[in-house]
Amino acid sequence: MSTIAVPEPMAAYRENFERQAEGPDWLDALRREGFERFESLGFPTTKNEDWHFTSVAAIAEQTFHPAMVSSPDVTSEGSTAGMVAPADLERFNFGELGWHTFVFVNGEFSEDLSSFAGLPKDVRVTSLATAIRSGIGRPERHLGKIAAYDSHAFTALNTAFIRDGAFVELQANVVVEQPIHLVFVSEGSGEAIAHPRNLIVAAPNSRATVIESYVSVRDSCYFTNAVTEISLGEGARLDHYKLQRESAKSFHVGTVQVRQARASQLHSFSFAVGGSLARTNIYTSLDGDGATCTLNGLYLTDGTQHIDNQTSIEHIAPNCPSHEVYKGVLDGRSHGVFNGKVYVHPEAQKTDGKQSNNNLLLSPSARVDTKPQLEIFADDVKCTHGATVGRLDELAMFYLRSRGIGPETARMLLTYAFAADVLEMIELEPLKKALEEMVLSRFAAA
């Protein structure tokens, strides 16, 4: 018998929490609040309405160790960067050399792997760790103010371990032409956990495109628990893409939480294909008059994957349109979940909300749970929502076959067409093309 007791997962979190290097007082206080909330909330169970269709037992029961990063008294240069070669990342950057690319390995910024020479001067992108250390941009003004760590266990857990991530600041009126691509790569030495924490602050009338890619260079079991907080000032516009392409054995929970001031625009697209158990939360709050958001998404699952998508749109202010289209294609014995909440608060008159979720089941054992939720407390609003779950149209199959197209190609064409419909809405052309090709080759291989 071994005399060394294997720590319970919760005990391991506490141990790792206590072991963290100290930060500034405000950060230590925030982390402590996060950890206390995490301990008291615990991992959600399926009794929790928000997690009804997704069991996170596989995450809760596993003891993860903190992903390998450089030690705090060494600069990141040449440490974690050494674990990932630039060539490993080529397949994740879409061949777009003009993009401002910031690479994070196991959640830690790697300057060596990044390239951002042409960044306009009115935009500052720093590693959050650097900003915390130096005080540049005073991240404490926003960190933990947007993401609801008081009520969401994974956000609380992330908050307890805030260390690094991207800190993007757009000054007023700046327009960033080229996308800012944040690549979070897991180097993937097993059972590791990373908590990337990002902060995007867009001053009034600024405009940018930010892509968050979550990828892995190895097919191993690890856990990414990411949180992105976004503050959009008056008239600011952010096009935000989250591409979840984690390894097939990994766990991923990613929350993007946004606050939108008057007349700001959020265009969000969530693409989820990776992970054995993955959850993406996109939450936005339309705080100011005339703020708009579009939340679109595509999830593709296969094998025994479980991919859950939760969105929440809070209509706080009046005259806000919100449009949402999520599509899912589910194969094998996989399980997809969509839960989209739209809350229209009493003050939010003239709300124009449209939400739809459509799912295509490719195999008899694939499953999807869809739950569009609309709660309206104002009387002068226009809101619609709907969800569908279907299989490939047999008549369409026959039509294609009657033209000489074999069943495999016909199935691929119809499946692709179903998914491409939502990709069509992506405004960033090179990304749209890349995702279309990715989806096409995925279905061609199936």
Partner: protein, 255 residues
């Protein structure tokens, strides 16, 4: 080219075709007429290989091969084309991509090289004129949002591009105004050749003013109850289907 012998087919327990026999030679146009529910469309669907229909008895030989053994795509690759009565909408697949895929699949199956998008565009532009269709229709999703007439033209466009040996037109005239009807008929007539054959399935005689058949067959209750020349269509127009339905199949056989 096509030899149907005592064909019985239906959906589930319901038998719709109850012993059809028909012979079509290269160069011929056959019209299959009949009242609603007589089995005309079922015959067309069965010949194209719709898996929803089950053949319970009989044989169909096509150029010496057992047609019923072939998958729908193999039939198409061997030159069979069905112009659908209700063309199917396929959102998200462009007409151009669909047409080119079909064209190339058929070429591949016949040991020919595939054509690239540019070559294909040249070919299809010519065919568009044949059916008086705008090039813009190529970039739209297959049949999505097309008017009834546009859908039918699109069927004939596909037929023109795929140049089948045996074309089956299922109620291509339904829902067409007289101008569209003329365009569609002209398209069909231009594609006519001594090597090809056409089966025109229709309820009304109207289309046969433009596509003149060599033979007319009248279907009722899943059987061919009368066969004749093009004048039979005119007789039907004049006397109505009641005239035929009161005729017993045995009398036809001895006529």
């Amino acid at each position: 080219m096509l030899e149907i012998n005592d064909l019985h087919a239906g959906i589930g327990e319901r038998e719709i075709l109850r012993g059809i026999s028909l012979k079509v030679n290269a160069g011929e146009i056959h019209a299959v007429m009949g009242p609603n529910g007589s089995g005309k469309s079922t015959l067309a669907q069965v010949l194209a290989g719709n898996p929803s229909y089950e053949v319970t008895r009989g044989t169909v030989r096509y150029n010496g091969q057992d047609l019923l053994e072939m998958d729908p795509e193999v039939r198409a690759q061997n030159g069979i084309f069905l112009a659908f009565q209700y063309p199917v909408e396929i959102p998200g697949v462009s007409n151009a991509y669909f047409l080119r895929s079909a064209y190339n699949e058929i070429r591949k199956a016949n040991g020919m090289e595939e054509v690239d998008p540019l070559e294909f565009l040249d070919l299809v532009e010519e065919k568009l004129k044949l059916v008086d269709m705008d090039q813009a229709m190529l970039s739209r999703s297959v049949n999505q949002g097309f008017s009834g007439g546009e859908k039918k033209r699109n069927e004939i466009l596909q037929m023109a591009v795929l140049s089948p040996r045996l074309a089956i037109l299922d109620e291509t005239d339904s829902g067409l105004d007289i101008d569209a009807l003329r365009v569609v008929a002209e398209g069909v007539n231009k594609l006519r050749s001594p090597e090809n054959a056409t089966i025109v399935v229709t309820h009304y005689q109207r289309l046969l003013n433009y596509i003149v058949p060599d033979y007319v067959h009248v279907l009722a209750g899943g059987r061919i109850v009368k066969s004749g020349g093009k004048e039979l269509a005119l007789q039907l127009e004049e006397k109505g289907y009641d005239w035929i339905q009161n005729t017993r199949p045995t009398e036809v056989a001895t006529a």
